[in-house]
C-alpha cells in the first residue's frame, strides 16, 4: 500500500501522507463529538441529539437561541483560536529548531497583551473593534522588534529566542505598569483577557477572526516544504538551495498573524501553541506538511475541551479556558523539558 501521494504543479509541491489524512479525520471526529457535548452542557442542559438536530436545522426551533446564538459560535471561536495558536507554535518550533518555542515564550503574545491591556485601561470607551486591532498591532510590533534586534548578518534561531525573551520581559513590565495604575474593576477584566477566555464570543468575533486564518493557514501549508528544509539547519537548507532568510521571515510573519489574530479574539490562552505541535508530532512525525494541519486541528480540540472543562468543573462558577490550558499545559511542559533533555 502506498504511504503517500505527491502532487506537483509548477513551483508547488505537496506530499499528502495517507496517515495524516487518517489522523486528521479522526481528530476532527473527536472535536465534533466534544463540541456537541459542550453545546449540550451548561445552565440549560440539552440532549446531544437535540443539539445535533438544532445545528443541522432539523430541530423544533426550541433551542435555536441557546445553541445557534450562544453556544455554537463560542465553540467555533474556541476551535479556530486554538488552531491558530497551535499552528503558530508549530511554525515557530520548526523555525527555531527548538521544541520549547511558542508565541507565549518569545514575546509575540506579550505584545498582543500590551496592546489589548492599553486599550482596556487607557481607553475604556473605545469601540469594540479597537481591542483586536491593538492586539494584532502589538503582536506585529513585538515580532518586528525581535526580528530586527536578532538580525546580525542573518537571524540565528538562538538569537531569535533569546532576544524574544528580552522583549517579552520589557513588554511584560509595561503591561504591569498599566495594571498597577488602573481601576481594579478594569484591571480584573484585563487579567481575564491576559489569561484567555472564550466566554461570550459570538458570530461577530468569528467573522473577524476567519479572514486572517483563511489567508494564513493555506500560506503556511504552501511554505511547509521550505519549513522542512529550515529544520535541517541553516547550512544544509542553503545547500539545498533554499532562500533561508526570506523563508524564515515569511514563516515568522505568518506565525505572528496567526497568534495575533487568535489573541485578539480570545486573549492570551497559554500553552496551546506549545502542546498541540508536540501532540501532532507524536501522531504524524516531524514532516511539516503533515504536522501543520494536524497541529491546527489538535489545537482546536484542546481549546474546545478546555472550554468544556472550564464551564463544568466548578459550575456554576466558570473558569476561563486559559486557566485550564495552563493547569494542563504546565505539567505537560515539565515533561517536555524532561523528554527533550538530549536535544
Amino acid at each position: 500500500m502506498r504511504k503517500a501521494v505527491t502532487l506537483r504543479r509548477g513551483p508547488l509541491s505537496f506530499q499528502i501522507n495517507l496517515r495524516v489524512i487518517g489522523v486528521l479525520l479522526g481528530l476532527l471526529a473527536v472535536t465534533l463529538g466534544v463540541m456537541i457535548i459542550n453545546m449540550g452542557l451548561g445552565e440549560f442542559p440539552i440532549a446531544p441529539v437535540d443539539v445535533l438536530k438544532t445545528v443541522l436545522g432539523l430541530g423544533t426551533g426550541e433551542y435555536d437561541f441557546i445553541v445557534g446564538t450562544l453556544r455554537l459560535p463560542r465553540n467555533f471561536v474556541a476551535f479556530f483560536v486554538g488552531g491558530g495558536l497551535a499552528l503558530s507554535g508549530a511554525i515557530l518550533q520548526g523555525l527555531t529548531r527548538n521544541p520549547l518555542a511558542a508565541p507565549d515564550v518569545i514575546g509575540i503574545t506579550h505584545g498582543a497583551n500590551l496592546g489589548a491591556v492599553a486599550v482596556l485601561i487607557l481607553a475604556p470607551t473605545a469601540p469594540l473593534i479597537a481591542l483586536p486591532g491593538a492586539a494584532i498591532g502589538g503582536a506585529l510590533a513585538a515580532a518586528t522588534i525581535t526580528y530586527t534586534l536578532a538580525w546580525k548578518g542573518g537571524t540565528a534561531p538562538i538569537r531569535l529566542i533569546l532576544v524574544g525573551m528580552g522583549i517579552a520581559s520589557a513588554l511584560q513590565a509595561l503591561t504591569t505598569l498599566l495594571l498597577t495604575h488602573g481601576n481594579v474593576i478594569v484591571v480584573s477584566q484585563a487579567m481575564v483577557w491576559i489569561t484567555g477566555s472564550v466566554y461570550g464570543r459570538s458570530w461577530e468575533h468569528l467573522a473577524r477572526l476567519l479572514p486572517w486564518l483563511v489567508v494564513a493557514i493555506p500560506a503556511a501549508l504552501l511554505l511547509a516544504r521550505h519549513a522542512n528544509a529550515l529544520q535541517l539547519g541553516d547550512d544544509i537548507a542553503r545547500g539545498l538551495g533554499a532562500r533561508v532568510e526570506r523563508n524564515r521571515g515569511l514563516l515568522l510573519a505568518i506565525s505572528v498573524i496567526l497568534a495575533g489574530a487568535a489573541v485578539a479574539t480570545c486573549g492570551a490562552v497559554g500553552f496551546v501553541g506549545l502542546m498541540a505541535p508536540h501532540i501532532a508530532r507524536q501522531l504524524v512525525g516531524p514532516s511539516q506538511g503533515g504536522l501543520f494541519p494536524v497541529a491546527t486541528v489538535a489545537g482546536g480540540l484542546i481549546l474546545v475541551t478546555a472550554d468544556m472543562l472550564g464551564r463544568t468543573l466548578f459550575a456554576p462558577i466558570e473558569v476561563p479556558a486559559g486557566v485550564i490550558t495552563a493547569a494542563v499545559g504546565a505539567p505537560y511542559f515539565l515533561w517536555l523539558l524532561f523528554r527533550s533533555r538530549n536535544a
Binding site: L100, I161, G166, S169, T176, T195, A330, R341
Partner: protein
C-alpha cells in the same frame, strides 16, 4: 609590589562604591514630594523631635532607602553567584525563574491560606525560590552533555512562563488577591513594612555573609567544574552551599520587595568589568553596586511620573531588557 597594587585597585573601587552608596541613600531620603535638607536628615537620626520632617524621614524615607539598598545588594550577589555557578552570562534570579517561583508561592499562599500576615509570605517566598532553583537546575542539566548555558536559559524562560501563568490564573479567580497582589507583583520598595524587613534581615544577612566567605571557592568553581575538582575542591558541597545562599538571598529579596529583575543580571557584569574575575572582590562590589542601582532606580521611579510613582520593578525591567538583548546578541555559547 604587584600583589599590593592588585589589591589596592579593587579595594579603592569598593571604597568608592561604598561612598557612592551612602550618597545615593542620602539623596533617596532627601528626595520626594517634600524635599528634606541633609542637615534635617542628620538631626532626625541623632535627635528625633517629632516634627513632620523627622517623622517622614524615620518612618517612610529611611526604611525605604534601607530596603532598596539591601534588596539590591541581595539580588546582585545572588546573580553573581548564579553566573559563576552556571558559567552563564545570562543567569540571574529574574531570568532563571527564581523570582517567578517565589512570587507564585506567595500568591498561592495568599489564595489558599487567606492570610494577610506578611511573615508567612517570607517563608513561602523561600520555599518557592528553593523549588524553582532545584527545578531549573535539574531541568537545565538533564541529558547528554550536562548543563549548558542555552539549556539552562531556555529552561528558566519556560519555568517563568509556567509559574507566571499559574500566578495569573490564581489572580483571576480571586479579585481580592488580585487587588492586593498586583502592586506587590510589580516589585516595589515603597511603603514596605519595617517589621517584615527586620524579620527577613537575618536570612538576608546570613546569605550575604556566606557569599563573602565563599568568595575563594566560588572563584575556583567559576573556572569550570573539572578544573575545580582537579584543584582538589569538593564541588558537590560548594555548589550546594552556593545554591542555598542564592535561595536565601533571592527568597528574602522577593519576600520584601516582590519580583525585581535586571539587578541580578547586570550588576555582576559591571563588577567584573571593574575588578576582573576574582569573586572575593566581585561579590562585595556587586553588593554595593546592586544597592546603588536599586536606590537610583527607585529615585527614578519616583521622578518619571511625578507626582505619581512607578513600581521600581517596572523601572528595572525596562532598563534590563536592552541589557539582556545586548548580552544575547554578543552570543551565548551553545555548549
Amino acid at each position: 609590589m604587584s600583589t599590593i597594587r592588585a589589591r589596592t585597585a579593587p579595594a579603592a573601587a569598593l571604597m568608592l562604591g561604598v561612598l557612592l552608596l551612602l550618597a545615593c541613600a542620602a539623596f533617596s531620603i532627601a528626595y520626594g514630594l517634600m524635599d528634606i535638607r541633609l542637615s534635617t536628615i542628620y538631626e532626625a537620626l541623632t535627635g528625633f523631635n517629632a516634627s513632620p520632617e523627622h517623622y517622614i524621614v524615620r518612618t517612610v524615607r529611611l526604611p525605604r532607602a534601607l530596603i532598596a539598598a539591601t534588596v539590591g545588594a541581595a539580588l546582585a550577589v545572588a546573580g553573581a553567584i548564579m553566573q559563576a555557578l552556571t558559567r552563564n552570562p545570562l543567569a540571574a534570579p529574574g531570568v532563571l525563574g527564581i523570582n517567578a517561583g517565589a512570587s507564585l508561592a506567595v500568591v498561592a499562599a495568599m489564595f489558599l491560606l487567606n492570610t494577610a500576615s506578611l511573615s508567612v509570605y517570607a517563608w513561602f517566598a523561600f520555599l518557592g525560590a528553593a523549588l524553582a532553583a532545584v527545578l531549573v537546575y535539574s531541568l537545565g542539566s538533564l541529558g547528554r552533555g550536562g548543563m549548558t548555558p542555552l539549556k539552562l536559559t531556555v529552561a528558566g524562560a519556560a519555568l517563568t512562563a509556567l509559574f507566571s501563568s499559574i500566578t495569573q490564573g490564581l489572580m483571576v479567580l480571586n479579585e481580592r488577591t488580585l487587588d492586593e497582589m498586583r502592586f506587590w507583583m510589580a516589585g516595589s520598595v515603597a511603603g514596605r513594612d519595617m517589621t517584615l524587613f527586620l524579620q527577613v534581615l537575618p536570612f538576608l544577612g546570613a546569605g550575604l555573609l556566606g557569599a563573602f566567605v565563599m568568595g575563594k571557592q566560588i572563584t575556583t568553581l567559576s573556572l569550570g567544574e573539572d578544573v575545580a575538582r582537579g584543584l582538589g575542591q569538593r564541588t558537590g558541597w560548594i555548589k550546594a552551599g552556593a545554591a542555598l545562599i542564592v535561595v536565601l538571598l533571592a527568597g528574602s529579596a522577593v519576600a520584601v520587595a516582590g519580583p525585581i529583575s535586571f539587578i541580578g543580571l547586570a550588576v555582576p557584569h559591571i563588577a567584573r568589568k571593574i575588578v576582573g574575575t576574582d569573586y572575593r572582590w566581585i561579590l562585595p562590589l556587586s553588593a554595593v553596586l546592586g544597592g546603588i542601582l536599586l536606590l537610583l532606580a527607585d529615585i527614578g521611579a519616583r521622578a518619571v511620573l511625578r507626582p505619581q510613582e512607578v513600581a521600581v520593578g517596572i523601572m528595572t525591567a525596562l532598563l534590563g531588557a536592552p541589557f539582556f538583548i545586548a548580552l544575547a546578541r554578543q552570543g551565548v555559547k551553545k555548549t
